[in-house]
Symmetry: C2
Subunit: 220 residues, 2 copies
């Protein structure tokens, strides 16, 4: 964790709380504690080592309670990783699509490059490939939230005349998110600053309005 | 198989033969027969069903011979899928980067959308995620050959003044190949004609020279 030692959401709580329970309820607090403890384990250990036993020890919540709320280890790890990533990819939008897309990619990559986190993401995807049921859950949590993050920036760009109205934003997200995951799970190449700069540049050139591109050229 | 009932390479043999053995040798013929039989099984059955037993029955090659050449089922399936994809993504380049990229994407997708093939690709990736050793093999065969296919088209575009000299072609490949795999293994959305058209359009806008874009605009 770069910013803090534990996942205490503070002002970002509403957007990031995956439990969707009334804040302050006993169950909400327990979930918060478990997700926070699991997220810290995800940073430090590889996927196979983040076991229900380890989470019980780290959170002080009994295994039976854990299993009552999360029917399988992978379900808990998926929710905790989504929770962590939601907190850490919360960026302050400036209203400039190039800047905001790049900031979002940097924040996302910081999560992925942290400690042993890459192992978790790759393994969650592998689990989704192997199980139809888990694949549904993976799409409804992690994938939905990340796509939403990209889309919010691109839609705002559209409203402000920076992104073409006829650009298909889903395809832009596939290219951006797909490229990052491709490096993470397939090629193993570094997801470096220069790569992200080239990637967001490619996406912006591919979907921006001529006006916006001209303005950017003149601003340089 | 759309084009033919079996994987008989004909004139495309040299580029597609993964065995790199003198054509016509006994071993080369055996490998050819096994890879061809395995590729047909991949079209028809899900990944888990393409077993060494099934390949032995379909190819008429003994299990002990198969194991001598391919130490594990996944290694054989990887090689057969690479072999099949190499044959089916052989396109006649026209020299226009937009046309050729799109043709390549269409050919690639035709392989992926065939019968139960998607299950095989996704599962090979899952195996690569779970095993460092297999991940190396995955990169050296399937990934290398696909990236090479994209790069050949983009490099030719560069030579012909269609793709910018300062464009990083590796990033363009990550965006294209990553987006296709993202749909295949993560979102499950259809890899449709309109999607591929938007995807290749995005990539071309993102890396083409102003001259080439202007010429295309005037040609419309």
């Amino acid at each position: 964790m770069a910013a803090s030692g534990s996942y205490t959401p503070g002002s970002k709580r509403r957007a990031a709380d995956p439990a969707h329970l009334p804040a302050g309820s006993r169950e909400s607090e327990m979930r918060q504690r478990v997700l926070s403890a699991t997220a810290e384990l995800i940073d430090r250990f590889s996927y196979d080592d983040v076991t229900i036993d380890a989470v019980a020890r780290a959170s002080g919540v009994s295994k039976s309670t854990l299993y009552r709320h999360w029917p399988a280890r992978r379900v808990l790890v998926l929710e905790a990783f989504t929770y962590k990533t939601n907190l850490l990819t919360h960026i302050e939008e400036t209203g400039d699509v190039t800047h905001d897309l790049h900031a979002y990619l940097i924040a996302l990559t910081r999560c992925l490059n942290e400690g042993k986190t890459a192992s978790t993401v790759a393994n969650l995807l592998a689990e989704a490939i192997r199980s139809k049921e888990f694949s549904g859950l993976y799409r409804q949590t992690l994938l939905r939230d990340r796509r939403h993050g990209f889309l919010a920036i691109l839609e705002r760009g559209q409203e402000q005349g920076q992104v073409r109205r006829d650009a298909d934003l889903g395809t832009v997200v596939d290219a951006l998110y797909g490229a990052v995951h491709h490096r993470l799970v397939a090629t193993g190449e570094a997801i470096s600053g220069p790569f992200l700069r080239r990637l967001s540049g490619l996406a912006v050139l591919g979907c921006a309005t001529p006006d916006y591109l001209e303005r950017r050229r003149l601003d340089r």
